[in-house]
């Protein structure tokens, strides 16, 4: 009896497959984002940003007269789902391009799939491995980790810091950052005397910062994108470890500053200019773009814009710009992205080339600090 019910169910399942596929004069853009799950602080603002931009462009009549059909797939930061979705978007939906994924692990899993499927993929994840080795169809918008590390080290040199402690969260972002810091430190004559990894869901890091204190570090670099980066700031001050705290560009979310409260004061970190858009000089080329994105996002979603949403903004607008230039031929659009110069985005000014699929340089970062609960430029302070 059970067997036949099972049999019936599988027949039902075949019926499931007879879903209609709509074909219209739209341009399909897929997105694989970690809207929920452990990386939702990346995926959620990214998804919001894409929806906002697609609506905006469609209300103006679309790109070259064709409306955008945005297909957002929530991977929950699961690589196996990203793989499934990537194949689905490429083979089945035949999307024009894929925005995302949000995390490095997922992007690295689908890099080959996009490459073989000849589909443009503009990732919103940080790891350098995404664009090195260069895959013909894979691009990314977040700044390179190595630039952030260099910025931090340059600042340390200015401050005369020699012995530092490095702590990172156990996410792909933290892992990549740790590798860059350890690789570049000798170039700047800086000695990493202790390097530690903590759990992305860590709730208290007193023991860890005590260990840092015991080693006598002159500064701490924390490289992570998780809530724990606010906890580490708090715990350091609580136990009286009063050395400068450097954060990565993953700190670019005012929520973390709020969470860290008084402990956030004086944290130094590199970031794109989105966070300090209002204090940028008026003649800065990025200012109009940044202010518009920030205003639009904040008025629609009633939450502060973060640099993560900005990565999706850049990815989407780079694609749109390239399509406007090259039309609706995938190959030509890919070439257009590769040759795109001087594109002003939220992350910086992009100059792509066949060997550089990120397009940003070290000037895309600004050193920021926290003053009275707000982000300000370090040099303005």
């Amino acid at each position: 009896m059970r067997f036949f019910k099972g049999f019936l169910l599988s027949v039902l399942m075949m019926a499931f497959m007879v879903f209609p596929v709509y074909a219209a004069e739209t341009i399909k853009i897929g997105a694989i984002l970690a809207v929920t799950g452990p990386a939702s602080f990346l995926g959620a603002p990214e998804a919001n940003t894409l929806k906002m931009l697609a609506d905006e462009i469609n209300s103006k009549g679309g790109i070259k007269g064709r409306k955008i059909e945005l297909i957002i797939k929530d991977s929950g930061a699961n690589p196996e789902k990203a793989i499934s979705f990537a194949k689905q978007l490429i083979e089945e939906e035949r999307v024009f391009a894929i925005i995302g994924p949000s995390t490095s692990g997922e992007t690295l899993k689908i890099k080959n799939i996009c490459e073989k499927g000849k589909t443009i993929c503009i990732s919103c994840a940080a790891a350098e491995k995404i664009v090195n080795p260069v895959a013909k169809y894979v691009f990314k918008t977040p700044q390179k980790d190595s630039f952030a590390a260099r910025k931090i080290f340059m600042q340390m040199q200015k401050m005369g810091i020699k012995k530092i402690g490095v702590v990172v969260g156990n996410t792909g972002f933290g892992k990549a950052g740790k590798a860059q810091l350890e690789k570049l430190a000798p170039e700047y004559g800086i000695d990493i005397i202790i390097s530690e990894v903590y759990d992305k869901k860590a709730t208290d890091l007193t023991a860890l910062v005590t260990k840092l204190k015991a080693k006598g570090v002159e500064a701490v670099v924390n490289w992570s994108i998780v809530p724990a980066q606010a906890i580490i700031a708090k715990n350091m001050r609580q136990i009286g470890l009063n050395v400068p705290l450097f954060q990565s560009h993953g700190f670019g979310n005012i929520k973390y500053v709020k969470a860290a409260g008084a402990a956030a004061e004086g944290i130094i970190f590199p970031a794109g200019r989105l966070l300090v858009a209002d204090v940028l000089p008026d003649d800065h080329p990025q200012k109009p773009v940044l202010m518009k994105y920030k205003r639009d996002y904040e008025s629609r979603f009633k939450e502060e814009a973060s640099t993560f949403g900005g990565h999706a903004y850049d990815a989407f607008m780079i694609l749109v710009t390239a399509i406007e230039k090259a039309g609706f031929d995938k190959e030509k659009v890919r070439d257009a992205i590769e040759n795109l110069k001087g594109f002003v985005g939220t992350g910086g000014i992009f100059n792509f080339s066949p060997t550089d699929h990120n397009g940003l340089d070290i000037d895309s970062f600004e050193m920021l600090t926290v003053k009275n609960g707000r982000f300000v430029l370090l040099e303005q302070k």
Binding site: S84, K87, I113
Partner: protein
């Protein structure tokens, strides 16, 4: 016995039928998610053996899956080219255990033949399951659930904290697994049908073995343990031995699924080792009715297929949570039993210890 062959025949026809239908409708891309679902179904069937037949819960099967997948992923992506002249590597090469390949970006990689990785992963899991099985299976109820959960968490932590396993990024660029000339497990778009049939083959064989097991002597012993462990012990069944065997076999099947899916996907990430994955497998087994091979198989195929295609959107976990609660509240013997109960009076069966 003839009954079993009929069932296997029907299953095979279903497998072929699905392929033909998708082809006729020009929707072969469904085969990608179907293939992945088939591998996950192997895990569910392995759990039916452990939970349904032997009555032992495991909240750590994602751990075995991950050990299987990660072992073969490491073995087939580790680049030994710089050490080519070391005597050990040289010997391995001479034994034809190594293969040289070129990746998409033109780099040469010398690594183990996937056969070595897959077999090694099964061996490692068998040993691990045996070693932890001895103390774990002495526990019952909550203690057993918590111990297996703990095992799963440790695997997850190790995977996430170890550079060799790629930490949070996992391992990508896992090459194809060439089983025989012309037969290989890979994620290429033009070999979808072959891969579907390979996965289906494993599932059909597994179903056949499980159906045979029920009617065999060990199968009866396991069911006796499920029904009443003390009684089984009293009637001379070495319960510890049978439980351990079921545990190890279940773990090895799970590891095989993990290894094969890793080759199909071309990579693996830490999410495969997460607690939520283990809970999902249990949810599917529960939805299928714990003891039912067919229930487990059909539920695994339907739920995984829909989940992997993204039908549940952002409510993926919520769907599995709801399935768990509803099934356990209203149909603890599985969805398939629900209609039977309302229809024909159910034949008196041996009491289920669910």
């Amino acid at each position: 016995m003839r009954n079993i062959y009929l069932k296997i025949l029907a299953l095979t026809i279903t497998v072929v039928g699905i392929d033909l239908v998708t082809n006729a409708m020009d929707k072969t891309y469904y085969l990608t998610q179907l293939t992945m679902s088939l591998y996950y179904a192997m895990v569910v069937l392995a759990l039916v053996l452990l939970m349904g037949y032997a009555g032992q819960i495991s909240l750590g099967h994602a751990g075995f899956f991950a050990i299987g997948g990660y072992t073969t992923a490491v073995m087939s992506t580790i680049n030994l080219l710089p050490y080519k002249d070391k005597p050990l590597i040289n010997t391995l090469d001479k034994l034809r255990l190594l293969v040289l390949r070129e990746d998409l970006y033109g780099d040469q990689i010398l690594s183990f033949n996937p056969w070595v990785g897959v077999l090694l992963s099964l061996l490692i899991v068998a040993i691990v399951a045996y070693i932890i099985g001895i103390p774990v299976l002495k526990l019952k109820g909550h203690y057993l659930a918590m111990a297996t959960l703990g095992f799963g968490i440790i695997v997850y932590r190790i995977v996430l904290g170890t550079a060799l396993f790629g930490e949070a990024d996992g391992i990508s660029d896992v090459p194809a697994f060439k089983i025989l000339p012309g037969l290989s497990i890979n994620g290429e778009m033009d070999t979808k049908r072959m891969n579907y049939y390979i996965a289906a083959f494993f599932v059909v064989v597994l179903v056949y073995l499980l159906l045979n097991l029920i009617n065999s002597r060990p199968g009866r012993a396991l069911r006796a343990i499920h029904g009443a462990e003390e009684a089984a012990e009293a009637s001379g069944i070495d319960t510890a031995k049978y439980k351990l065997k079921a545990f190890v076999i279940s773990a090895v099947i799970t590891a095989l699924a993990g290894a094969l899916l890793t080759h199909f996907n071309g990579g693996i990430g830490p999410s495969e080792a997460s607690v939520m994955k283990s809970v999902r497998y249990v949810a599917i087994v529960a939805a299928g009715g714990m003891t039912s091979v067919w229930g487990g198989l059909s539920m695994a195929m339907i739920l995984n297929f829909l989940s992997l295609r993204g039908y549940f959107g952002s409510y993926d976990d919520a769907v599995f949570g709801a399935v768990l609660i509803l099934i356990m509240l209203f149909a603890p013997e599985g969805l398939l039993s629900l209609k039977i109960r309302t229809g024909i009076k159910k034949k008196t069966k041996q009491p289920h210890n669910i």
